[in-house]
Symmetry: C2
Subunit: 386 residues, 2 copies
Amino acid sequence: MSVTAAKGFRAGGIAAGIKPDGQLDVALVMADRAVPAAAVFTRNGAPAAPVQVSRRHLGEDLGVRAVILNSGCANAGTGEPGLVAASETAKAVATEIGCLPEEVLVCSTGPIGDVLEVGLITGALPDLVGQTLASAAHGTAAATAILTTDTVPKEATFWGDGFVVGGMAKGAGMIRPDMATMLAVLTTDAAADRDTLQRILRRAVETTFNCLNVDGCESTNDTVILAASGEVGGVDPEALAEGVEAVCRDLARAIAADAEGATRVVTVRIRGAADDAAARLLGRAVADSALVRSSFYGPDPNWGRILAALGSARVPFDPEAVTVSYAGTVVARDGMTVPDLDVDAVVDAMAGDFTVDVVVGTGLGEAEILTTDLTPEYVTFNGGRS
Amino acid sequence: MSVTAAKGFRAGGIAAGIKPDGQLDVALVMADRAVPAAAVFTRNGAPAAPVQVSRRHLGEDLGVRAVILNSGCANAGTGEPGLVAASETAKAVATEIGCLPEEVLVCSTGPIGDVLEVGLITGALPDLVGQTLASAAHGTAAATAILTTDTVPKEATFWGDGFVVGGMAKGAGMIRPDMATMLAVLTTDAAADRDTLQRILRRAVETTFNCLNVDGCESTNDTVILAASGEVGGVDPEALAEGVEAVCRDLARAIAADAEGATRVVTVRIRGAADDAAARLLGRAVADSALVRSSFYGPDPNWGRILAALGSARVPFDPEAVTVSYAGTVVARDGMTVPDLDVDAVVDAMAGDFTVDVVVGTGLGEAEILTTDLTPEYVTFNGGRS
């Protein structure tokens, strides 16, 4: 179950011809009426046209009636024609379902540089709206229509006490995505105002999607949306926040597991930093190092690369306190290699997904970053012409 | 010619048994007397023991009589025993050649985590000093003894008006090096005081070694040293600066050309930024993107990845002004794909080393960053157990 798990939402997907071979490429998520919604957009300095249009529509504060999403074209690096195309898309949806254009958000993902062909979407809209329903299968159709290089649709659901949070996401490249934009739409039937939703979503994104090693190198199109139908009435905001974070976490893990060319998901856990923010920066430096991630591919418990990456983070830590464990085995303690280590046993334990535990001092700050190994397949894949 | 090109310097290399199979692994660069010297050290938060010791010795301001360098062991992540080993190394050299320990700088490179075996160096020192001479061959022996995964020694010389600047370097990994520490020693026979040398060296490093995509992720051991014998007397500081920068530039290019697994050197040229510093940050964001560098491997003139990388730099620029050329052909102008492009011709022009020109606005800031393609071989190489 995903975006249709919460009462008051419908979803659907259709093949509009943006992608070849009849693949699903346009998704619609609809609320029964305009509902409060929040969004976290990419901080990339060259935001795509749909990001600019969605940000403007959300700023009108009229609520959100629908989110239209397409794969096969990012509509980024497209200047004024791109902005017109994104606006026209929202207008066409508004006309078809009977709402204001400002109540429609637009998301696009795919290769950068081509303007979205609005005609393909408007031509498919009547059929798409007819196939936008509240079933799980229709949620999965929407989740499938937003995929690019992903191999599987990504859906998650949190069943709270009297409310539901559901979500879908796409995102395949692990670092510096472009075709591999991260998009996610979450829905809930709990009631919450826009400011509450915004606060909850921002916090959840910070500890989940932003703890994939994507942060600081966000794509032109990254967007996470949370809409609340209120069908089941008000709930404890902390309980709702927990549900939103759980769904974001599941989706983030699904994105990592489906990363291009990756053979394993690695959790980098930092403890002992000055505070959580410092821990996140240190963890991201580790998870963002091509040398560290190559050693995960080996696999090779090469803690020196972790030390070097920590040192590059420009965050104070104590090199003499650094203790590193791979898959539960300590390989370096207090900044020095553990003598007489059974390296072969550690390597064996790194065969599948594993966790690297890094202690950097005696502070209370901690963070968990998800990453994957960097593989020859990743480079071959991303070296191919798009 | 390298460090022995300038009058007043000798060099040598020997196999001390730190590396296997009788490979050269210890280098010595000596001045005939203690001379003014400057150094730029890594800003990594976990600096190796030799960096800490050399920084302290240089701080004593007694001048530099010798630099001892070893490969096969980084002596990093080694705590107090590592500091003792680095100090003992300097002391042994001082005793052997008759100077103060504080007149000796120490550099190490190789795997992180093992303490340097000082006995191997002290045992080899009498022979090494005997083989430390002013010839070009002895300079090359020193340049060879500092190599790790490099495939060729890296030497450069600048013949100025009445003075010489020579240098040697090692460094093989392109990004986030650890075993692939960047070390360089430059010598000149011009006269200059320590402060002048420091100013000249820092500026040269900023526009050369720091414009390899190594910056912001410096290794635990990175060190660049410049020593001036003064044998030919004073020269125009600007002329000396030009010579130092030329040698640094040649060495940086040699490092890029010898990068692990790389098949081509790519020059990323940024123009139109607010100032040079902004241009460097934008260029580094491009050169540091695994997706961009994978597309260099393709090769694939995928300018969308460049746009996304620029946007991730958190530096103001104008996406609508972005114009990107690969190997001289404009593929995107004013933020949009050039229509009817002969992509195959562009791909053909990207077969060897090439330049990517990126215009980001109408400012006067510009920068040139050297990088390489990211290849499956890089990952395979760095995934191997060290």
